[in-house]
Amino acid sequence: MPNLDFVINGDVLKVALSGDFLHFAGNPDLYQTAGSTRVKSIIVDGKNIGKWDSSLLLVLFELAQIAKQRQIVLEKDNLPPGLNRMLDLSLAVKPHTDTVLANKSDFLERLGGWGIDIWQIFNKGLDFVLENVGALFRFLKGKTVTRKIDFLFALEDCGPKAVGIVSLISFMVGLILAFVGAIQLKTFGAQIYVASLVTIGMTRIMGAIMAGVIMAGRTGASFAATLGTMQVNEEIDALKTMGIPVADFLILPRLAALVLVMPLLTMLADFMGMLGGGFVGILLLDISAGEYWKYSWEAWDMVNFWVGVFHGFVFGFIIALCGCYYGVNSGRNADGVGVATTRAVVSSIVWMIVATGVITAIFERLGI
């Protein structure tokens, strides 16, 4: 059993410790007494201490700190040697006093700071895009250090391995589109136009958006995580010091693969969405298969189809660039990679929506 007794004798605080001090709870009264102005010195008698652990070291550490703060003497000569040495060790280095800089700027200052940050991010992003477009031109001239195998790996990852999930989700979206449309169209007895709704909706934009969202979450995140981990492992530093452009070696294979594959995945999403719509129309809305496909075909417009495919192509660029940008600019720790991955996905989706708005406005103006 631990035994801690203390008594004030004149202006001396005498602390007697005996027994085993394992998981000792401490004694707040002792610290209070040691802190009183009556006490001019502290003497610790520890010759009867048995076993001890950090909890006793903590009591002595607190006493030593109070003594240091009050500039009074702490005598601790007959402590067990190990305990004495540990106490000396814990007091040997002066505590670091600089605090981590807190952001205490006012609102206007912060607003200005955000503005500068956004401007710098925009500039950095623009440089990145221009660098990679330049790399793409060099690639077409055959002047880049790009490994064919990296391109093929990226192509496999973005293409065949994504077919399953893109098919499934697009089928479900076509199904939902048909269901939602049918609720309204049924009230006019016009449920047959579900076929037109799904065909136009999927081919014009929904196929591309669904393929884009899936690929942003799947492949864009994977690009950011892979390149972020390479940043942590100093692989990107090694490339830079070897004089090999990161854009050529790491980004181009991924960019080329995704740009190539996204239009194809958009076509797949269009087809699977129409299939999902057909599933609802034929099996649940009692529309005959022939009739459904007739209306689908009538609604089919090659302009819509190519507009959708063009969206897919642009989305491929956006997803690859966002994933790679945040990957190569990732922080150098586990947290940094997580943040990079999140930002890659979020910014891909945001930029896809922005791009859709811009493309729609331009096509509207051009009458397409």
């Binding site: 950090s54 060790l89 981590v100 150098r332 947290d335």
Partner: protein, 255 residues
């Protein structure tokens, strides 16, 4: 009389069919600073992974405090490992947590101390490794040597009986490395903690080691054991002599 803290019997370490170490027998006595040494690729870190329970042995067994670790169930393993601290090569600190939160984590999970005491204990452990006042810093904001010391403070949080060190000197400058060696010796002598150190740094080996085993990459076995200074005086084979003298270039240590 000192007792064995860790004993290995016919221990085999392998990745699938690829054997890394075989027939390993050794005993780590209480209060030892036990060095596991050997050249690159000799299986030092793999052996440590087995001893820390991160990887099962491919054969044989080992005992920690007399308990057969590989045969223990999950709960027993947890009880055994509560008395063991580990300092990983890069510190192994959680990057999303401050140093204080890193050190407080095992105390919050496995001790009954109130929050205020845990806070004070964290401050004590940080002061012990010379990092008093750095509790609010994140691992990314401190140097490699400081990360190792913070990792050591976390390893010591629960007053372990055994602490494993994986390449403690790796990536440190000679001064930081010597400071860490001294800290390890202080902990060993003051707290009576048994230290198991995987390293190939000769300065550390001779400065802190009280007992050791040498892993030979060719034979995949332990080819030497004993106090490093004794091994240097009477090397059992040429490989050990070459290792301990940097291929004969460091002969002055033998004199």
């Amino acid at each position: 009389m000192s007792t064995d803290k860790i004993t290995a019997h016919n221990l085999k370490v392998a990745y699938g069919d690829k054997v890394i170490i075989k027939n390993a027998d050794f005993a780590v006595k209480e209060n030892d600073i036990f060095i596991i040494m050997g050249g690159s690729g000799s299986g030092k870190s793999s052996l440590l992974r087995v001893l820390t329970g991160l990887m099962p042995p491919a054969g044989g067994t080992f005992y920690i405090n007399g308990k057969d670790y590989p045969k223990a169930d999950a709960e027993q393993k947890l009880e055994i490992m509560k008395k063991v601290g580990i300092l990983y090569q890069s510190g192994g600190l959680f990057s999303s947590m401050t140093l204080a939160e890193n050190i407080a984590l095992p105390l919050q999970k496995y001790s009954n101390y109130p929050d205020e005491t845990i806070k004070e204990l964290v401050n004590l452990k940080l002061s012990l490794v010379g990092l008093g006042g750095f509790g609010d810093y994140y691992p990314a904001e401190i140097s490699g040597g400081m990360k190792k010391r913070a990792g050591l403070a976390r390893a010591l949080a629960l007053d372990p009986e055994i602490v494993y060190f994986d390449e403690p000197s790796a990536g440190l400058d000679p001064v930081s490395s010597a400071r860490l060696d001294n800290l390890m010796k202080d902990i060993n002598q003051s707290l009576g903690t048994t230290l198991v150190v995987v390293t190939h740094e000769l300065d550390s080996i001779f400065s802190i080691g009280t007992n050791s085993v040498f892993l030979d990459a060719d034979s995949k076995t332990i080819t030497a054991r004993g106090n490093p200074h004794e091994l240097l005086k009477n090397p059992p084979n040429q490989t050990v002599y070459n290792f301990l003298t940097r291929g004969g270039k460091d002969e002055k240590r033998t004199k």
